[in-house]
């Protein structure tokens, strides 16, 4: 004979796994996600696939305009040029250029003021593509090279000396960790954000799924049969476990897909980032930290799933429940808004507090773990608080469930909810 919670969990899992929605999010969502990121990156790099036409108004006595134009036209866009540059006299009518940009004959114009080499004035670019980060980066880089070269020349340096002077200063940040290889700080930062956001979305997604599942049982009136067969505690626990397993399955599928993709990681990064690829490679998380992250995710999921289940039991329609879940969502969202607080100062007292409170620790502690070593006592305290909170939430939710699952009509007030918990 099976325990009731097991039967309930298996039903939630099997019915969930059979749904089209689940198959869709398991397989298609990551494909779409990667495709979207890939497409965005590709489109940015290609600049829409069109050579940008610029007019360069050169007011400098040194006539550096030509050098700037050569540097700009050297920039490649796939097989074609990224920029095509026309030099123009200082007297050129700016209004006419603006009108040409307006009708699409021209993408923009650049004005090099007379004293720019001497260190005064300000180069201004006006164009339809001013919002393109990559175009603007190339533009700035070309300008800087030409102007600095001109300044070097006026100081009497040879081109070789100028090159030596301009040689890049290699600077790199590495995340200090207790164990494992040091990692690039930027990559660690990116990983911490991505992981925390995934945890946040996972908790919201599956928490809301639990709430929906309760609402379906209420609105289809199947609840009364079910509560006559099993204890509310078994029903709650089974539901939360079953849907949790569904979430874990989904994440496992995603990890497998990511692992397959990561065998191509080097090639993908090289394609996008050239020789810097090695420094961008994702740091490995390590088994201990991975286990801790999973623990915090599960704890957070259980805590919020119990609360969402109680919201479902206390309400009747999806619309009522949507309103009632707002405060819960707000708490989680506040936690995710605190991401910069953690990444900015992962060891500050505020970060310690935020990663100990059970409502924010599930998303914030993993981030802190990925950024800095966390003392064992803080980890233990955080996990203990989370465990206490989730046990209380499950217990209270089961009691609300018991009373609320058969209540139809008016939504209970907070005071009534408290009474349900006391008397449940």
């Amino acid at each position: 004979m099976r325990s009731a919670w097991f039967v309930v969990a298996r039903r939630e899992y099997m019915e969930g796994a059979r749904s089209k929605w689940f198959v869709f999010t398991c397989l298609l969502a990551p494909v779409l996600f990667v495709a979207l990121i890939g497409f965005t990156a590709w489109a940015q790099l290609r600049g829409g696939g069109k050579t940008a036409r610029l007019v360069l108004i050169d007011e400098t006595p040194e006539a550096i305009g030509n050098d700037v134009a050569v540097a700009l036209e050297a920039g490649q866009l796939g097989d074609g040029q990224r920029f095509a540059v026309d030099l123009a006299a200082p007297t050129t009518d700016r209004g006419a250029l603006a009108r040409r940009i307006d009708v699409g004959e021209l993408d923009g114009y650049l004005v090099l003021p007379a004293d720019v080499v001497a260190g005064g004035g300000r180069v201004v670019y006006r164009g339809a593509n001013a919002s393109s980060n990559i175009d603007m980066a190339i533009l700035e880089h070309s300008l800087r090279t030409a102007i600095v070269a001109s300044r070097a020349h006026s100081l009497g340096l040879s081109p070789a000396q100028a090159t030596a002077l301009l040689a890049p200063v290699p600077f790199e940040t590495r995340q200090a960790t207790l164990a494992g290889p040091e990692v690039n700080a930027g990559a660690a930062f990116a990983l911490a954000y991505v992981v925390s956001f995934l945890l946040y979305f996972g908790i919201v997604l599956y928490g809301v799924t639990v709430m929906r599942s309760v609402l379906v049982e209420k609105s289809s009136r199947v609840m009364e049969v079910v509560v006559a067969c099993a204890r509310p505690w078994d029903l709650m626990l089974g539901k939360v476990l079953g849907i949790g397993m569904l979430g874990i399955t989904q994440i496992a599928v995603w990890i497998v897909l990511a692992a397959i993709a990561s065998t191509f990681e080097g090639r993908i990064l090289t394609r996008f980032a050239g020789e810097d690829a090695a420094s961008l490679a994702l740091p490995s998380i390590g088994a201990v930290r991975l286990a801790l992250i999973v623990l915090f995710f599960l704890g957070g999921y259980f805590l919020y799933a119990a609360i969402f289940a109680a919201v479902g039991a206390a309400n009747e329609s999806e619309r009522d429940a949507q309103q009632a879940q707002m405060p819960v969502m707000m708490v989680l969202t506040v936690a995710s808004v605190c991401f910069p607080v953690i990444s900015g100062a992962p060891r500050a007292p505020l970060a310690v507090v935020l990663t100990t409170l059970p409502f924010s620790s599930p998303v914030l502690m993993p981030m802190r773990l990925l950024l800095t070593p966390v003392p064992a006592w803080q980890l233990a305290l955080s996990l203990a608080t989370l465990l206490g909170a989730l046990l209380f939430a499950l217990w209270a939710a089961a009691r609300i469930f018991r009373v609320g699952s058969l209540m139809y009509g008016k939504r209970p007030t907070l005071r009534e909810l408290a009474r349900w918990v006391r008397e449940g």
Partner: protein, 322 residues
């Protein structure tokens, strides 16, 4: 005296603003078809929910199967069909039945052939793998009934089992309920339809305004009702319309009802008047009597009389439902 399968003693349940059940005692003996009757809002469903441990009584005691309190152990031996019917709309009939049986502790392998048999019996076999939401309401109700009996419970609790069923399906259900009784099960069902109760019940309890109005076996209830009235059924041959003079004289006759033009009359005598006197007058007046009998009220009449009297008393005594 047979063992009581369900025994309530002085059970009271209050909800926020009102008393749903007040001081209710009742006994359902083993192997009996027991009707819980009452107008809407009398407290039938709350009583049934307390027996199923869905709500708990504020005071009083409920004993099930002689020794158990409402709860897990008792639930396994109960098959409960709630008034609010519902199944998981997206699950197939077979899976939803299997799930509910397993939830009550049955093994999946054992339950499969039983499901097949019941679906066959209720002419639902070809819907076994259809989603519940594609079934008609009547079919869904039959599926839900299967879920109630699948684990072969000792006690069936059916809350308004016939509501929403067409006459054909209601007949099928009534046959199965009788069959369950002959198989030794105890059945407690609620209804506000007296015809069903009269056809099915062995014993009954009438509730009104959260209280018990009357309890007993159907035969007892009927004979008590018969004895409490001085009413007779008279049929006279070849007589239409106007009652015979012997009845029309109204000597000691309180009420005459002539249902149709058949020569049949329902007569109620004033207290103290004897039936022999009336019969002698009829014979003396030369009428040809073909039938003369003490009349037994229908359950419907008993119900209406008692509930009305109870409500009048409650109204006169000031509403206790504040």
């Amino acid at each position: 005296m047979t063992e009581a399968v369900v025994a309530l003693r002085d059970v009271t349940k209050r909800f926020a603003g009102h008393v749903a059940v007040r001081g209710l005692s009742l006994t359902v003996p083993r192997g009996v078809l027991y009707g819980l009757l009452g107008p809407n809002g009398a407290g039938k469903t709350t009583t049934i929910r307390m027996i199923n441990d869905i709500v708990r009584p504020d005071t009083g005691a409920i004993t099930l199967f002689g020794a158990l309190s409402p709860g897990r152990a008792a639930q396994r031996r109960i098959g409960y069909l709630p008034e609010e019917r519902g199944l998981y709309p997206r699950m197939t009939v077979r899976r939803v039945l299997s799930f509910l049986a397993e939830l009550r502790g049955l093994d999946r392998a054992d339950v499969a052939p039983k499901i097949a048999r019941w679906l066959d019996r209720l002419e639902l076999a070809k819907w076994a793998d259809a989603k519940v939401e594609t079934l008609s309401k009547g079919m869904q109700q039959k599926v839900q009934f299967i879920a109630t009996v699948l684990h072969e419970p000792d006690l069936l609790i059916l809350d308004e089992p016939f509501s929403g069923l067409d006459p054909l399906n209601a007949d099928v259900l009534r046959d199965i309920v009788r069959e369950q009784k002959y198989a030794g099960k105890t059945i407690l069902f609620s209804t506000h339809l007296m015809e069903h109760a009269e056809q099915l019940c062995d014993a009954l309890c009438i509730m009104a305004r959260a209280e018990r109005v009357l309890e007993g076996s159907l035969a007892d209830v009927k004979s008590r009702a018969r004895d409490s009235r001085n009413a007779y059924h008279v049929e006279i041959a070849r007589r239409n319309g106007e009652p015979p003079a012997a009845l029309a004289e109204r000597a000691g006759v309180a009420v005459i009802r002539a249902p149709g033009n058949s020569g049949a009359y329902d007569v109620e005598l004033l207290p103290g008047q004897s039936a022999s006197e009336l019969l002698r007058r009829l014979v003396d007046s030369g009428e040809e009597i073909v039938h003369f009998a003490r009349s037994v009220p229908t359950l419907h009449q008993i119900f209406v009389d008692h509930v009305r009297r109870h409500e009048e008393a409650a109204a006169a005594g000031g509403s206790g439902n504040a």
